[in-house]
């Protein structure tokens, strides 16, 4: 799969992208903030977009709203949420297909994503 990953924490983004590439065999494009994520998502086709909840310039939710706002992009979105974002979970589920709570086990993130996509019918 072609995956767009937006995550400002370099350690987390490196670990996540390595997991996705090495374990899941996906191609991952990494951006560091919400604005770059919106920019790239509207110019390039991805199979999955992963957005961190808290990012500089635009938060994960704002970025997701703008990506969906274009109307054409129906790519599934999965959020990475920290414990402090509990209030946003409802909106995460409205705009995206699911969320992964931090801290997550990197070796299991691929199976986790597969599970979410299978449950929501994006993958069989």
């Amino acid at each position: 799969m072609q995956i767009l990953l937006a995550e400002d924490d370099q350690a987390v983004s490196l670990i996540t992208s390595l997991s996705l590439e090495k374990i899941g065999g996906h191609q991952v494009t990494v951006v560091e903030d919400g604005e770059a994520a919106v920019d790239l998502a509207t110019r390039q086709a991805f199979d999955l977009i992963i957005l961190d909840g808290m990012m500089p310039k635009k938060s994960g939710l704002q970025a997701a709203q703008e990506i969906r706002g274009a109307g054409l992009i129906t790519t599934p979105i999965i959020f990475l949420s920290a414990k402090s974002d509990e209030r946003d979970i409802r909106e995460f589920l409205e705009l995206g297909v699911g969320y992964i709570a931090k801290p997550f086990e990197p070796t299991q993130i691929c199976s986790h994503i597969d599970e979410i996509l299978a449950r929501t019918g994006f993958k069989t």
Binding site: A11, I15, P103, P106
Partner: protein, 444 residues
């Protein structure tokens, strides 16, 4: 007069003064009565002399004595009458003498009557003033007692009530308007003490919230890098970024295990800080004990399987407890996971429920572990204290599990403790005050 002592002194002075004045007047009147009575005696003597005079034969010596008697008479009317009688006696004229004596006796009688009237009036005054003196003394005594009660004892009772209020009313009461007397001094002293207590409490609260805040920030800031370290280590260990040789893999595994322990410690510290700061009020609801217990044990199934320990639960379908499920689940989880860690392979950990004589519910977690020596039984509930055994020199944990369980159980109004026999096993128990048996649930 502002001081109570001054007021009481003035009161005493006034009472004693008035009473003494009345007593002096009574004494003075009594002296007057004595004076009048002396005059009456003297009049009686004069009367006796007059009665004898008619029969007295004339002697110069007798006339001289009678003249002396005349000197004693202080009243003009009587002296003239007596003088007339004396003159008649000297002239030796019996007829004239008889007339003069009769006239003098009439004067004496009149005088005597006058004196008697005077005595009656003055005696009346004696009784009045003596009564007044005693009356003032008695009334003054009563008044003084009333004043002492009002000024001192009633105020003292008021003061002690206010002090009790201070204890009950969460340390806020102060005397806004202390009186300007000795009790006022006491009130002012109390205010200073109260202020000191309030300041100390405020300081303690500030320190406590600063401590909680520090712990919470520190734990939060520690978690983020720990997550990255843990993620990196687990990716390295999984071998997906490149195969590692055996030694490197072993080192990475050690680092991973210790990282897990550090993360648990941070989580426990954060939990304990939250519980101790009291920032999270309990959300108690009536909960089925069986469901609650099953849910808790499900979360521990993995740990039990790894340790080859069986978990048993006493089934009580009609039992309900009023608890905050999430919080108490953590307490029970800590107790059961401890029991699992200390159990021998193939052992059993049993959760049983009984009723204390005091009516509380006792939840017991019974293991077949090595037991806890008596000297350690109180220590293990303190932070960072762990029991050690020969077989199990150091069971890897944070040392906070039991402290957290204790804090959570106490939040629910219960107590916690342990009974243990070395070599046989330990029973960790806690009590829950709010429980009921729901017959409907049994029927349903």
């Amino acid at each position: 007069m502002k001081s109570i002592r001054g007021m009481l002194a003035l009161l005493t002075f006034l009472i004693l003064g008035a009473s003494a004045l009345a007593a002096w007047r009574a004494w003075d009147a009594r002296q007057q009565v004595l004076a009048v009575e002396a005059k009456m005696t003297s009049s009686m003597e004069t009367r006796t002399i007059l009665l004898m005079m008619e029969e007295l034969p004339y002697f110069d010596e007798t006339l001289r004595r009678l003249n002396l008697e005349l000197q004693r008479i202080d009243n003009d009317e009587r002296r003239i009458a007596f003088k007339d009688a004396l003159d008649a006696y000297a002239a030796r004229k019996p007829e004239k003498l008889k007339r003069a004596i009769r006239s003098a006796l009439r004067a004496e009688s009149k005088y005597h009557e006058e004196l008697r009237r005077q005595r009656a009036v003055i005696e009346d005054r004696v009784v009045k003033f003596a009564g007044l003196a005693w009356g003032i003394l008695a009334a003054g005594l009563m008044w003084s007692l009333l004043a002492i009660n009002t000024l001192i004892f009633r105020q003292l009772r008021h003061l002690s009530r206010r002090m009790l209020d201070f204890l009950v009313d969460r340390y806020s009461y102060q005397f806004s308007n202390p009186e300007a007397n000795e009790l006022g001094d006491l009130q002012r002293t109390f205010n200073s003490l109260a202020q000191k207590v309030i300041n100390t409490m405020d300081d303690l609260k500030r320190l406590d919230s600063a401590k909680s805040e520090f712990l919470s920030i520190a734990s939060h800031e520690l978690r983020t890098p720990m997550t990255s370290i843990k993620g990196s280590l687990s990716l390295l260990a999984s071998g997906v970024v490149g195969q590692l040789d055996t030694n490197s893999l072993r080192l990475i595994k050690i680092a991973e295990g210790e990282t897990d322990r550090l993360i648990r410690l941070i989580n426990d510290l954060l939990d304990l800080a939250k519980i101790e700061s009291g920032n999270l009020p309990l959300n108690c609801q009536w909960t089925s004990w069986d469901q609650f217990c099953r849910r808790t044990l499900e979360g521990l199934a993995g740990l039990a399987v790894n340790a080859d320990v069986r978990l048993e639960q006493m089934s009580l379908p009609q039992l309900e407890v009023n608890i905050d499920s999430d919080r108490l689940q953590q307490a029970l989880t800590n107790l059961v996971s401890n029991a699992i860690k200390f159990s021998p392979k193939g052992g059993t950990v049993r959760i049983s429920v009984s009723r204390a004589r005091s009516g509380e519910l006792i939840v017991s977690v019974i293991d077949q572990g090595p037991g806890i020596p008596p000297r350690d039984r109180d220590l293990i509930f303190e932070k960072f204290r762990q029991g050690t055994t020969k077989e199990n020199p150091l069971v890897k944990g944070t040392g906070l599990g039991l402290a957290i369980a204790k804090a959570l159980v106490e939040e629910h109004g219960g107590g916690i403790g342990v009974d243990s026999e070395v070599g046989v096993g330990s029973t960790f128990w806690f009590t829950l005050p709010h429980w009921r048996e729901n017959a409907d649930r049994l029927a349903a």
